[in-house]
C-alpha cells in the first residue's frame, strides 16, 4: 500500500486497474473522461492487460459491455449525464441478463439547458434500471468502491451490474491523499471473475437474451428483484472485508452514520456533500448541539432497515436531494418519508446543488436551523 495525492478520477481508474477487467468499452464525456484516459495510459504502459474498445456512442459502449460480459469476462465502462441517458435501454438489458458489469458514473446534470456540472439527475433517472447504485464521498472511497463493486456484482447471490457514482468535478477533479493497495492485496479480496450462467463456450452452447414470454417474464423479474435485495448482505460483507484488510470501512457498507448515537437532529445526503456536512456537524457539536449525519452510500438496493434504525430517537431529519422528481419532490426525500411514515419525527426535504451550484457550509447550517417545522420541500439557492 502506498499513499499518494491523486485525482479522484485516477483513484477510480486505479481501483478498476487493480480489478483487472478484460474489456473496457469507452466513449468520452465530461466530467468522466479522466477515468478512461488514465485506464488507456495503464494499457499503453503495459500495466494493464485489457482490451479497450473505442466505440461510437454510449449506447454502443454499454452494448459492447453487455456483449463482452456475456462471453464470460469482466467488463467496465464509465459515463455521465447525456451519456448515461443514451445508454438507458441497454442498462435494463444488462441487469435483466444478470450481467455483473461495473460502471463509474461521474454525476452530471442532464440538459437542457446544457450543463456540465454536478448533480444527481443522471443516475437518479436510471434508479429503476436494476443496477446497484453506490454514491461515494471521497477519492479514497471511490477507489475502494470501484473494487467492492466488482466483489458485490459478481457474487453468485447477486449477479447484477453495479454503478459507482461520484460527483462530477466536485469529486472527480479533486486531488487528495489516497491509500493505494497493491495488486497482491487486491487479489486477496477480489477473485478472478468466473462466469456461472453467462458465458461463451462452444462445448456448452447456451442462448442468452432470448424472449421471455408472459409465463416466464414475471418470474425472472422477481428473481432480479430478490438478487438486488441479496446485494445488501454482500455489500456489507465486502465493506467488512475492506475494514479488516485495509482498515477502511464505510459504516456498514450501505449507510455511514456520523455522530448519530445521541443526535436529535440529522441530515441525510449522498456523495461528496457529506464531507461538508461533517464539517458543519463538528462545528455545531462544539456549540453543544446534538446533531449528526447519515450518509446513504448505497441507494439501490435501498437501505430502509438501516435508515429506520439510525433515525430512532431523532426529533427532526433533513434530506438533501441533488435532483428533483419534477412535479413531486426530491427522490431521496420521498423514499425516506415512505420508510419512516409511521415514525414520530419531522422530515424536511431540501433540493440543493443542481447543475453544479456549490453547496456551502452556510447551506448546511440553514438546513440544520430549519428542521423543527415541517415543510415539504425547500430549494437551497
Amino acid at each position: 500500500m502506498v499513499r499518494k495525492v491523486i485525482e479522484a478520477s485516477e483513484a477510480v481508474a486505479l481501483g478498476v486497474k487493480l480489478s483487472r477487467p478484460a474489456v473496457i468499452p469507452m466513449y468520452p464525456i465530461t466530467p468522466q473522461t479522466h477515468i478512461v484516459e488514465r485506464l488507456a495510459e495503464y494499457i499503453n504502459d503495459g500495466e494493464l492487460d485489457t482490451k479497450m474498445l473505442h466505440v461510437e456512442s454510449e449506447h454502443s459502449a454499454m452494448s459492447a459491455a453487455v456483449g463482452a460480459q456475456a462471453t464470460g469476462v469482466r467488463s467496465f465502462t464509465a459515463t455521465a449525464s447525456q451519456g448515461l441517458a443514451l445508454m438507458n435501454e441497454i442498462l435494463f438489458i444488462a441487469s435483466g441478463m444478470r450481467l455483473p458489469i461495473t460502471m463509474a458514473v461521474a454525476n452530471r446534470a442532464l440538459a437542457a439547458p446544457i450543463n456540465i456540472w454536478n448533480d444527481h439527475s443522471d443516475s437518479f433517472s436510471v434508479r429503476d434500471a436494476g443496477w446497484i447504485q453506490y454514491y461515494v464521498e471521497s477519492a479514497q472511497e471511490a477507489l475502494d468502491t470501484a473494487i467492492q463493486a466488482f466483489m458485490v456484482a459478481e457474487d453468485h447471490s447477486v449477479l447484477l451490474p453495479a454503478m459507482v457514482c461520484l460527483d462530477g468535478f466536485t469529486l472527480t477533479h479533486v486531488y487528495e491523499p489516497v491509500d493505494i493497495p497493491s495488486q497482491e492485496e487486491v487479489d486477496k479480496v477480489l477473485k478472478p471473475y468466473k462466469a456461472v450462467h453467462a458465458f461463451l463456450d462452444p462445448d456448452n452452447p447456451i442462448t442468452q437474451g432470448a424472449i421471455g414470454f408472459p409465463n416466464a417474464f414475471m418470474d425472472l423479474k422477481k428473481d432480479q428483484h430478490d438478487a438486488l435485495l441479496n446485494a445488501k448482505n454482500v455489500i456489507k460483507e465486502s465493506n467488512w472485508i475492506f475494514a479488516e484488510k485495509f482498515g477502511r470501512g464505510y459504516g456498514d457498507g450501505l449507510v455511514e452514520p456520523y455522530m448519530m448515537e445521541d443526535a436529535e437532529y440529522a441530515v441525510v445526503a449522498l456523495g461528496s456533500v457529506c464531507g461538508t456536512i461533517r464539517v458543519v456537524v463538528d462545528e455545531l457539536r462544539k456549540k453543544g448541539k446534538k446533531v449528526g449525519m447519515l450518509k446513504i452510500r448505497v441507494f439501490r438496493p435501498f437501505p430502509e432497515e438501516q435508515i429506520v434504525e439510525h433515525t430512532k430517537g431523532l426529533k427532526g431529519l433533513g434530506i438533501i436531494d441533488k435532483e428533483v422528481s419534477f412535479g413531486q419532490e426530491g427522490t431521496v426525500y420521498s423514499e425516506i418519508r415512505s420508510a419512516l411514515y409511521d415514525k414520530d419525527l419531522t422530515i424536511n426535504g431540501f433540493i440543493a446543488g443542481l447543475g453544479g451550484r456549490d453547496i456551502t457550509p452556510d447551506h448546511i447550517r440553514k438546513v440544520f436551523d430549519s428542521l423543527d417545522a415541517e415543510k415539504r420541500t425547500e430549494w437551497l439557492f
Binding site: 499518494k4 495525492v5 466530467p31 468535478f169 466536485t170 486531488y175 487528495e176 491523499p177 456549490d358
Partner: protein, 182 residues
C-alpha cells in the same frame, strides 16, 4: 486549515500549480486537497484553482470563499478580476509582477509579496512559464511547505509525464524564485 486561491489565465497552468502545491504539502506530512474552479476554460481567460492544507483530514468540499492566501500568476489579472475577494485583512497576496506592491494599486490592507517570475523563468526556460516556479515564492512566503518537498512534488508530477529535463528545469526555476522572493 489554510485555504488558498490561485489565479491564472487559461493555459498558464494554475490547476497544475494547485496539484503540485497539494502534493508538496502532503510530502511535508500534511493533509491537502486541490481542485479547479470548474468552468468551461478557454486559453487566456481568467481561471482559478483552489487548495486546502491542514494538519487534519480535510472533509470540506465547497469552493474556497475566504482564502488566507491568494497566488496570482499574472499581474494583468489584478485589473481583470477581484483578486482580493473574500481575502481577510492582512491576508497574503503573492503576485508575479515587475511592479512594486504600491504600483499595483491593490486596495485594502494586505500582506503583498511581489516577484518578477516572468523575467526569472524566461532566463531558465527561454519562455515565461511561471506556474510552478511561483510555488517557490509561495513556499518562501507562507512556510507551508519545504523547498525539498516542493522539488519532490515536481519530480512526481513531471519526471514521468514530461521527462527529467523538464522536471530539473522547473526545480532550478523554483529555487531561483524562492531565493529572490522577499
Amino acid at each position: 486549515m489554510i485555504e488558498i486561491r490561485i489565479h491564472g489565465r487559461g493555459g498558464q497552468g494554475a490547476v497544475t500549480t494547485g496539484q503540485i502545491m497539494a502534493i508538496a504539502a502532503f510530502h511535508d506530512g500534511k493533509e491537502s486537497q486541490t481542485f479547479p474552479n470548474f468552468g468551461v476554460e478557454r486559453a487566456g481567460a481568467p481561471v482559478m484553482a483552489f487548495a486546502r492544507i491542514s494538519d487534519e483530514v480535510i472533509n470540506l468540499r465547497s469552493q474556497v470563499y475566504k482564502p488566507q492566501v491568494v497566488l496570482v500568476l499574472d499581474s494583468s489579472l489584478v485589473e481583470a478580476v477581484n483578486v482580493t475577494e473574500g481575502l481577510k485583512d492582512n491576508g497574503t497576496i503573492i503576485i508575479n509582477t515587475n511592479k512594486t506592491a504600491e504600483e499595483l494599486g491593490i486596495k485594502g490592507s494586505f500582506d503583498i509579496h511581489t516577484i518578477d517570475a516572468t523575467s526569472i523563468t524566461v532566463g531558465v526556460f527561454g519562455k515565461p512559464i511561471v506556474n510552478t516556479p511561483m510555488l517557490g515564492a509561495f513556499a518562501k512566503v507562507t512556510g507551508l511547505m519545504s523547498l525539498e518537498s516542493l522539488k519532490k512534488a515536481i519530480d512526481d508530477k513531471f519526471v514521468y509525464a514530461k521527462g527529467k529535463k523538464i522536471a530539473d528545469l522547473n526545480k532550478v526555476a523554483i529555487e531561483k524564485v524562492y531565493s529572490e522572493t522577499r
